[in-house]
Amino acid sequence: MARTHAEADLVLGSEDASLLDIVDNVLNKGVVLTGDITIGLANVDLIYARLSLLLCAADRVLSEEAETDVRPPARSRRGKT
């Protein structure tokens, strides 16, 4: 607990508190990293793909419903002929 409070003091006592707010605000819902890939052959572009990766704490993105463990329906038996 003492160590946690010491770390918390560092956070709240930061000289650049404005940067803390900026980071906390702008990255509140995570960050999207985007990359483009073009796959080609013999200098001919064939496939273009844009990949977007969302980096975020799970509890800020996933809803309560998404976290519910939903069991798949039981499989029905097929009659053998």
Binding site: H5, L12, V23, V26, L27, K29, V31
Partner: protein
């Protein structure tokens, strides 16, 4: 053309930021404020500061604004498709934040007394367990904050709570014109409750958006 999406607004909003005119894409009551970019924004403090200045400039121009995730890049067709598909949810969210700003309270939670800690571990009943889970994501679960929250009731339209590393961040959605009164009230209430905290804001409603 690749667009960086900064925010969602209820009407076209295209301020000039650092000499660059932003563009508004959309229709009806849901618009996206964007700017063309050649590459994704770098994840640096300078880039985050620029992003924050842009969001603030948009919020200064528009009464209802939902900041968008840093680094969201799309072309215009994709933006329009997303706005169409999420029109209902975005309209409701814009209505919720209209005329409001975010105030942030960061406090170091005092340690629980030993008997409270033990009680917190053992769920007395199913109802108690569910109540404790619900309180954990609101300010009701913060030791000593109940009196503060009660005093702030008239000004707080919505609330989000995040806990990490011994620091609890409480985000309150407050009417723009009440931000000053809210700040004075929360500082006095925190002092009276003996809680150590830092109050910042007003900010655009970053914690009250989902895109």
């Amino acid at each position: 053309m690749t667009l960086c999406v900064y925010a969602i607004t209820a009407a076209p909003c295209a301020p000039v930021v650092s000499g660059v005119r932003l563009h508004s894409v959309g229709s009806g009551r849901v618009w996206a404020t964007t700017a063309p970019v050649r590459r994704p924004p770098a994840l640096t403090s300078a880039s985050l500061r620029r992003y924050e200045r842009t969001i603030t400039a948009i919020a200064d121009t528009s009464p209802a604004v939902l900041p968008v995730r840093f680094g969201t890049l799309m072309d215009e067709t994709e933006v329009l498709a997303v706005l169409r598909s999420r029109r209902t949810a975005l309209t409701a969210a814009l209505r919720q934040v209209r005329g409001h700003v975010q105030m942030t309270v960061r406090l170091i939670e005092p340690p629980l007394p030993p008997d409270e800690t033990a009680r917190a571990v053992v769920a007395r009943s199913g109802r108690a367990y569910l109540t404790a889970r619900a309180d954990a994501v609101t300010s009701r679960g913060i030791p000593g904050f109940a009196s503060v929250r009660e005093l702030l009731g008239p000004w707080v339209r919505d609330e989000r709570v995040e806990r990490a590393g011994g620091v609890t961040s409480i985000y309150h959605l407050v009417h723009r014109r009440a931000a000053g009164r809210y700040r004075r009230a929360v500082v006095d209430a925190l002092d009276a409750a003996g809680l150590r905290a830092v109050v910042t804001g007003p900010f655009p409603p970053y914690a009250f958006t989902s895109w």
